[in-house]
Symmetry: C2
Subunit: 296 residues, 2 copies
């Protein structure tokens, strides 16, 4: 039987495997482990990478926490008082080179003592400069993962990502999306196999982009554009991301939640890139409902 | 009679007077005016300052908007459908020198066609380095403004600022607070006189700090600490500030709302300043309920 302990154990091993692959590719920075306990029950291991050859700042978080369910969750789910258990791996990596994209991945499992359980997660990519063939490569890889489990997953979860990773106040998507899913229930073994498949797809996928662009030359202007796009990343995470808001609002572990923040970000009043520039072309592509696989 | 048009006119003149005083003190950067219209009614004038001698980035916003009341306000106030009118001046200034504090000021008037009206506003100071005598000077000046109108205002609005400008997820205040008030109703002439007095106190107060520290020497480490504190400023504004969240959620003018963002901000995982350092001393003072006037 697939117990919550077994799921956590597999998530922990996934974290290890991902850190190994990313650190090996980076070649310079190693992950530092910061183990922590949650006063209300459980804890985690935040793996932090800084000043690498490729990764400027990032984290690969594992956590398995439990205790009384926060009142806000009970209210949202219309549940009576019950204990909860939550475990997951959560990743954000900010690269040095503006031609390497920012990436995010999350897999999570939630279980209430009263019986409900579900999986959630996803992967999405935020290139500072969108390259059509890279977007197609990324989405094709995610579609292959999805198709191995359910032929409807990719379409459904791609749309979910477009809607979720959206900055309403900018009318921009965060990047080129990917897949996002939440509250998946049904056959637990099948769903867990899917979720682990998503998790295991992450490292090879990102290593591909790390290697492709790590030595790509870049200008001061491109570095500044990266800083502005990082500002948008901050805006999404602090204004719209439900997980971040919920965590900060319910005494989650702040440093682990805000591991997603970039090393540095910039804001300029009413900034618009020059028409026809690579920056303007990227802005034009920060839209929902682009069929990245067939557009390129 | 004190009409909404008269209030707006006085707020517009206040904006002009503040920009003149700040630009004169800065000596290099002038304010650029960006007039905008609101599709639903009204508009504003965002005055933006960049790369000055003293101010690195900042804005002095005026707006007077009207139209159908957003559903979220109606729900929050338990009101039937009605038109609204809102006018105000809103300021955030980020200095170059880490020894000059960040400052925020806002005065606002809100009126519903159904009859309700109120004033809100406040001033608060966010020093990167807290200096006791400066904190006392700032709070004394605000107390004098308050005392001219009501002997209970300072105590009440100082506590309100402590509670409002608070980063729950860091257990830190944003800075040394100041005064904050909202939904003030009663004698309209008296309240407006108070609100204008707050607005007019702003420029001389900030000019004092600009002049005191503009030529203060600083190190790379102090500049980096400033970047980290600016990250906290971003966190407060995007996670907790009700005005920012409300504006972004109801199709407010994004560039004017996010004029409060610093030019640049940095994040480091689990950063702690060295025990006993000036940075650690400042952190220790980011607490509610400090009696700044009598503590120094």
């Amino acid at each position: 039987m697939l117990t919550k302990e077994k799921i956590s154990e597999r998530f922990k091993a996934l974290q290890e495997a991902i850190c190994e692959q990313i650190a090996a590719c980076d070649g310079k920075a190693d992950f530092i482990s910061d183990r922590w306990e949650r006063p209300g029950g459980g804890g985690g291991d935040s793996r932090v990478i800084t000043s690498g050859n490729v990764i400027e700042k990032g984290g690969v978080n594992f956590s398995a926490v439990h205790g009384d369910t926060p009142a806000k969750i009970l209210a949202a789910l219309n549940l009576p008082e019950t204990k909860f258990y939550a475990s997951g791996v959560s990743i954000v990596l900010h690269p040095q080179n503006p031609h390497v994209p920012i990436i995010h991945m999350n897999v999570r499992y939630f279980e209430m003592e009263s019986g409900q359980w579900w999986f959630g997660g996803g992967i999405d990519l935020t290139p500072h400069y969108i390259v059509g063939e890279d977007a197609a490569y990324f989405h094709k890889a995610l579609k292959e993962v999805c198709d191995r489990h359910d032929e409807h997953y990719y379409e459904r979860f791609k749309k979910w990502a477009d809607d979720y990773f959206f900055l309403k106040h900018r009318d921009e998507t965060r990047g080129i999306g990917g897949i996002f899913f939440d509250r998946l229930s049904g056959n637990k073994d099948d769903l867990f196999a899917f979720v682990m498949d998503v998790g295991e797809a992450f490292a090879p996928l990102y290593v591909h982009f790390m290697d492709k662009y790590r030595n790509h030359s870049f200008s001061d202007e491109e570095k500044q554009w990266q800083a502005i796009r990082r500002g948008r990343y901050v805006e999404f995470n602090l204004v719209w991301d439900k997980g971040t808001k919920f965590g900060l609002d319910t005494n989650g572990r702040t440093e682990s939640i805000l591991m997603s923040m970039p090393p540095a970000a910039e804001w300029m009043y009413d900034y618009h890139p020059a028409p026809g520039s690579a920056e303007a072309q990227t802005l034009d592509l920060l839209k929902k409902n682009i069929d990245w696989i067939n557009a390129n």
